[in-house]
């Protein structure tokens, strides 16, 4: 079966910044993404957990976009403007997709 090159961008960011991140992603012309809750982890400030969080401030979400390689720079510029001063991780990996017309 034919496969096509694509980029998988994963952005883990604080929940209060989610709406701004999605606006930046859509501004960059990317309309397809998935949002996953992050239930806990550990970073420079030590371990944390979403368990029993009373507000959104301490939570994290992960946004996953699969895009055509030519869209990557525009997306990363927009994403960087949002995450620059905030807690978060941005990773980019190569992947392949089956239906290129969908990305």
């Amino acid at each position: 079966m034919e496969q096509h090159d694509a980029k998988r961008v994963v952005i883990t960011i604080e929940t209060p910044m989610q709406r701004r991140l999605l606006a930046a992603i859509e501004e960059a012309g990317v309309t397809g993404y998935s949002i996953l809750p992050v239930i806990g982890g550990s970073g420079r400030s030590g371990p944390w957990s979403a368990e029993g969080q009373v507000g959104r401030a301490g939570g994290m979400v992960q946004v996953i976009c699969i895009i055509r390689p030519d869209r990557l720079d525009g997306l990363l510029d927009g994403v960087f403007a949002v995450v620059e001063r905030h807690i978060g991780v941005v990773t980019v990996t190569d992947c392949t997709v089956l239906r290129a017309e969908r990305f």
Binding site: E14, R19, G58
Partner: protein, 326 residues
């Protein structure tokens, strides 16, 4: 003194406080007791709606008067002014930099709605009435403190705060405010007859639901305390215990000036003494990402909230009774 001791013992022995203590103990003992996040959210929606609609019905019964307007204005003024005082205390008592001190200060101008709800429950137990409009005062006190903190940060130069229209929309229309004011408006519209239709759901089970919510808050506070060893200095700890009393006394004085009766004066004292751990932390994460959430969340949730719930409430009630002769 005997009266205060008796109030404190009654408060400490109530199901509400014991539920909270159970949560704290379970968290400190590293129990695997977990309160599902969705259940906690559902309970908080229930509590906010119940307190809002009851407040609205009370206003519908008694009408809107000058005291309502004055108390809302006093609440806004207190919320805006308390961070300035808290900031000065933090500069004197701790080594926090300007950004962190301003972020912490914002929490002490804003309010904890759970402490307010627990306060109304204390009044109910003591048989002391209060004005229904105090719900609107609580909603009005959520946001001004954030503005004061951002002003404090902007005065200091540096990278400053990131504030845009979207942030203001999020602050002013945050879920707690919308729910409180919305339910309050529903209460005013439907009045006592409307409340009677939903009374069996929103009135009778209220304290039981609050017990469960406080159990969860105890778990959260206990986990916060467990993680606080690296964050809490003696100065910060002292601030977390002193600032609610200072804020409470200022709130009580404002209530005296307006001429509030015992119950409402007590609630204004509680609101002024409490510290936010929902609306303000979210705003600070967006506007002041350089501030350390470990400091402000630990202080408001791990120190000030348990203090207010266990010792603060009886202290503030004794103060309100003393000032009003009630």
């Amino acid at each position: 003194m005997d009266g205060l001791l008796s109030l404190a013992l009654t408060n400490l022995g109530s199901p509400l406080i014991l539920s909270f203590v159970l949560g704290v103990a379970a968290a400190l003992g590293r129990s695997d007791l977990v309160f599902p996040e969705a259940a906690a959210k559902a309970l908080s929606i229930y509590l906010l709606f119940a307190i809002g609609i009851k407040g609205g019905v009370s206003v519908a019964d008694h009408g809107i008067d000058l005291r309502l307007g004055l108390t809302v204005l006093a609440g806004v003024a207190l919320s805006a002014a308390l961070p300035l005082l808290a900031f000065q205390l933090l500069k004197a008592m701790t080594r926090l930099d300007r950004t962190n001190a301003a972020a912490v200060a914002a929490h002490y101008g804003s309010i904890s709605i759970v402490t307010f709800v627990a306060g109304t429950s204390v009044l109910q137990t003591a048989g002391i009435p209060s004005d229904g409009f105090m719900v609107a005062v609580a909603a009005a006190m959520e946001a001004p403190a954030i503005l004061s903190a951002l002003w404090l940060i902007s005065r200091g130069g540096g990278s400053g705060a990131q504030v845009d229209a979207e942030l203001w929309r999020e602050i002013l229309l945050n879920g707690s405010i919308v729910l409180l004011i919305g339910a309050f408006a529903i209460g005013i519209i439907v009045g006592a007859d409307g409340l009677a239709e939903v009374e069996s759901f929103f009135v009778a089970p209220f304290k039981g639901a609050l017990c469960l919510f406080l159990l969860d808050m105890g778990l959260v506070a206990g986990r916060g305390l467990r993680r606080s060893r690296d964050v809490l200095t003696p100065g910060l700890l002292a601030f977390g215990l002193l600032m609610p009393v200072v804020g409470g006394v200022l709130g009580a004085m404002a209530g005296m000036l307006i001429g509030l009766p015992t119950g409402s004066l007590f609630l204004l004292t509680v609101l002024s003494a409490s510290a936010s751990y929902i609306a303000v932390p979210a705003a600070m994460r967006v506007a002041v990402p350089d501030a350390d959430p470990g400091i402000y969340l630990t202080l408001s949730l791990g120190i000030t909230f348990p203090f207010n719930l266990t010792l603060g409430l009886p202290l503030y009630l004794a103060l309100a009774r003393m000032l009003t002769g009630g």
